[in-house]
């Protein structure tokens, strides 16, 4: 969806905004892939802000959305397109796509086919292997990759921002995270859930694509697979609360409806009907009574 949103924003000269979507997407499938041509994506884009705060907000928002959907403990792995580019350039590797594939597959065999430079192999092997906090970048810099000062500082700050959102335990750096989409030009990330074999989503910064569409503006966002989430949530057998039955005694309908509206405002679904001798639910008369407990709810509500 991101590509379409970027195109839309650019054609309307919209240079800032916060957008979200839950949409069905259609894609061309190569015969290899085992997936659906039509799928649902939910995501958000933050346009017009380029700082580390914006990147942190996007990551935190993705995690918060999943939490609200009942999926606690999702993990995010961060990667960096600039760091990857700088490393590739330093070792003069021309087969960029081959290298990207080797690294994303953590395949030493494929890496050796792309380059024979011992130092390059050592550095890229480290990028495939190591996962952790901002010190992953520091180590890479110590291994001789030049020009990473800016990136080390960026990731230190990003971890600070993510910590402020309360998600530092969910997030790690894995420099082999490179996302398939070619439009990313800054931080990229993938989202995982224990027990789900496929990343459930991801995102990153794509200022460069906005520029392609003719707008020099910052943009970052994330998307998650709705189809996968539905599968997971169904598997969790999260019990959906059935609506609360509110009954009224003749003459108290208005009071019952008033109560129902207050309950619905609090997010509690309920129905209202005339009392016909039911044994469970809430009975509204002179007082409000929870029928199976026999308690008065006057104060609680």
């Amino acid at each position: 969806m991101t590509t379409q949103i970027a195109r839309m924003l650019a054609s309307r000269a919209c240079s800032e905004g916060r957008l979200f979507y839950i949409e069905n997407c259609i894609r061309f499938l190569s015969p290899k892939a085992y997936s659906q041509r039509e799928f649902w994506q939910a995501g958000a884009e933050l346009v017009g802000e380029g700082g580390v705060e914006a990147d942190g907000e996007v990551v935190a928002l993705a995690l918060e959305c999943l939490e609200r959907a009942g999926l606690v403990g999702a993990k995010v792995d961060l990667g960096s397109i600039p760091v990857f580019r700088k490393t590739v350039e330093q070792f003069n590797i021309t087969n960029y796509e081959g290298l990207r594939r080797a690294i994303s597959a953590k395949s030493m065999g494929d890496l050796r086919e792309v380059t024979t430079d011992k130092r390059a192999i050592e550095v890229f092997a480290y990028m495939m292997e190591e996962r952790g906090g901002p010190d992953v970048l520091t180590r890479l810099s110590e291994m001789g990759v030049r020009g990473l000062n800016e990136d080390v500082r960026y990731f230190e700050e990003l971890f600070d921002v993510i910590k402020a959102y309360g998600y530092s335990r969910n997030v790690r750096i894995d420099l082999s995270t490179l996302r398939e989409m070619k439009y990313y030009n800054g931080v990229v990330f993938e989202i995982f859930l224990e027990g789900v074999g496929i990343p459930i989503g991801g995102g990153g910064r794509y200022d460069a694509m906005m520029k392609e569409f003719g707008m020099d503006v910052s943009a970052a966002g994330f998307a998650v697979s709705v189809d996968l989430l539905v599968r997971v949530v169904e598997g969790l057998s999260v019990r959906r609360s059935s609506p609360l039955q509110v009954y009224y005694i003749e003459g108290y309908r208005e009071k019952a409806i008033g109560l129902a509206r207050r309950l619905r405002d609090k997010g509690k679904p309920c129905t209202v009907s005339r009392y016909r001798g039911e044994k469970e639910g809430i009975l509204v008369g002179e007082t409000i009574i929870e029928m199976n407990g026999g308690n008065s709810l006057e104060e609680k509500l």
């Binding site: 290899k32 597959a105 395949s107 065999g109 996962r131 027990g195 074999g197 496929i198």
Partner: protein, 209 residues
């Protein structure tokens, strides 16, 4: 947390060497070898015995965490998995072969409309697409070598380790699509969410390879 599920081929050329690696690593199935999913002598590790070509699928969807299978079937599946290590056995090549008396010396010489019999339709299509040759791919499930002799196909794309089977069936290799060995592959999410368990098993298997 459930244990790690390690997938190995239940038959075929990789079965023997894969089981030898497990033997050396002291991982033995507790059930007889007809059981698809078996507990093992190593606590927390279960063994899943399935067809080599299905292993990338079980790994991709995260049903199995680690698997030993050929690079050929991983590439054919087109699925993204981590290839953690080379297991050092199962060496072979996916080759294009024609009848011994054929005039063609290189795959690029094959004419449009050539009929190619193979067990690897995806890699075959991709290979000839890149050459710009339109071919008719005939997918078979085995005994591919016999197809040219009987006139079903003009050439085959098939695995060959020594070239002897090709020779016996009156075929000659004219090009290589891919070299393959047995790989230790891993589900991408499992590698991240259960790193310690996976790493331990990876090290053990690589040491025993």
């Amino acid at each position: 947390m459930r244990g790690v599920i390690l997938a190995v081929p239940n038959k075929g050329r990789l079965r023997g060497p894969a089981m030898e690696v497990l033997e050396r690593a002291n991982i033995r199935p507790l059930d007889n070898d007809r059981v698809y999913l078996s507990n093992t002598t190593l606590e927390g590790v279960q063994l899943l015995s399935i067809r080599a070509a299905d292993i990338p699928i079980y790994i991709y969807y995260g049903i199995a965490d680690l698997g030993i299978t050929g690079r050929d079937v991983v590439a054919e599946s087109g699925l993204e998995v981590y290839e953690l290590a080379d297991m050092g056995f199962g060496e072979c090549s996916l080759v294009v072969a024609v009848k011994s008396d054929s005039k063609y010396r290189d795959p690029s010489e094959l004419p449009h409309g050539t009929r190619v019999a193979t067990e690897f339709p995806n890699l075959t299509k991709q290979f000839f697409n890149e050459l710009g040759i339109q071919v008719e791919v005939i997918t078979l499930r085995g005994a591919v070598e016999i197809a040219p002799l009987l006139g079903l196909a003009d050439c085959v794309v098939d695995l060959s380790s020594t070239g002897r089977t090709l020779e016996r069936n009156g075929l000659r290799a004219i090009g290589t699509i891919l070299r393959s060995t047995a790989k230790l592959i891993c589900n991408k999410v499992a590698y991240k969410t259960r790193y310690e368990q996976i790493k331990m098993l990876e090290d053990l298997l690589v040491r025993s390879a």
